[in-house]
């Protein structure tokens, strides 16, 4: 399964994603330059974390109109697999590949720490290697990670099981303190209506190798391989 990782000016998790695909999963991977519309025939596009275009105007607002993202939009519309992590999630929301938006954390601070996620739907290309309700530990590192959407969108996401991950504590309970940024309904990651696009604020690619403190995030990548083969 061939992966592509987009590099925007200001991306800083592109190498983490590249490393995870190449060295942890042992799969072919290419960088995709933001200024090119050629997606190099990849099977999955990863929109990485960072501060694309300096996060000017709004996080993800400028990246949306880059040639690589316009090509990714077409790729996703044809059913292509797209994984947006952190800034990548913000880019996917700005691109309208996912509904809603990410705004400033309730606490006003950039939060960088390990958190826990509860797997809410395992019947997707991104979560098939996880078990229902499985708790995974992965890091977050963001200042604008509070997911917001209107009530109609929230009801639709919930009814269609498109909320794939919610913040929780180590035993899976959702509490006020387990939500690190004030996200609506403890949402950490959502999928598109066809489940071929996932956006999430936490960083599974930074938790895919035991040397990094947790390998729990690897299951998201293993799910993609399981789905593909």
């Amino acid at each position: 399964m061939k992966f592509g990782v987009i590099k925007f000016p200001g991306s800083n998790c592109d190498q983490d994603a590249y490393y995870t695909v190449k060295d942890v999963l042992g799969q072919p991977v290419e960088y995709l330059w933001h200024g090119d519309s050629d997606l190099k025939a990849v099977d999955c596009v990863i929109v990485p974390g960072g501060f694309s275009y300096g996060d000017y105007l709004r996080c993800g607002a400028i990246a949306r109109f880059s040639p690589a993202m316009i090509a990714t939009h077409e790729f996703a519309a044809k059913g292509g697999l797209v994984l947006g992590i952190c800034n990548g999630f913000q880019v996917l929301c700005e691109s309208h590949l996912l509904p809603g938006a990410l705004v400033r954390n309730d606490g006003q601070k950039f939060v960088c720490k390990q958190i826990h996620l509860r797997t809410e739907n395992t019947d997707t290309p991104f979560t098939g290697a996880l078990s229902p309700g499985q708790i995974i530990q992965v890091p977050i590192a963001h200042g604008e990670g509070k997911y917001v959407c209107d009530e109609a969108v929230l009801a639709e996401l919930d009814a269609a099981n498109r909320i794939l991950f919610r913040y929780c504590d180590a035993d899976g309970t959702r509490t006020e303190t387990s939500n690190p940024n004030g996200s609506t309904d403890d949402i950490a990651g959502i999928a598109s209506a066809n489940f071929n696009v996932l956006g999430l604020m936490p960083h599974p690619e930074r938790a895919a190798d035991p040397a990094l403190g947790s390998a729990d995030g690897r299951a998201i990548f293993e799910s993609l391989l399981k789905f593909w083969h």
Binding site: L57, R58, A61, F65, C93, E94, P99, G100, A101, V103, R104, N105, D106, G107, Q108, V148, C149, D150, G182
Partner: protein
């Protein structure tokens, strides 16, 4: 050319956490009558005149300058 001023604010339905913190600081300074502090963005630009000018300003706001999921915008044109 016309000078255009665009004001972008978070939708009233969204909590403006930044505005809330600033309002708290103002109260602490003794300005207790201050309410509804909202922090937004202000953009200045010049735009070519023509019959499509206002349509183009609105298009720019809706496509790029504001995200209508979370923000409202308004603008003024100084002829």
């Amino acid at each position: 050319m016309a000078q255009v001023k665009v004001y972008i604010t978070l939708k009233p339905s969204l909590l403006d956490a930044q505005g809330k913190v600033v309002q708290g600081a103002l109260h602490q300074l003794g300005y207790e009558g201050v309410e509804q502090v909202r922090i937004g963005k202000y953009i200045e630009m010049t735009v070519a005149d023509g019959p499509q000018r206002d349509a183009h300003i609105m298009e720019m706001c809706e496509k790029l300058l504001a995200n209508l999921v979370i923000e409202d915008y308004r603008y003024e044109v100084i002829e």
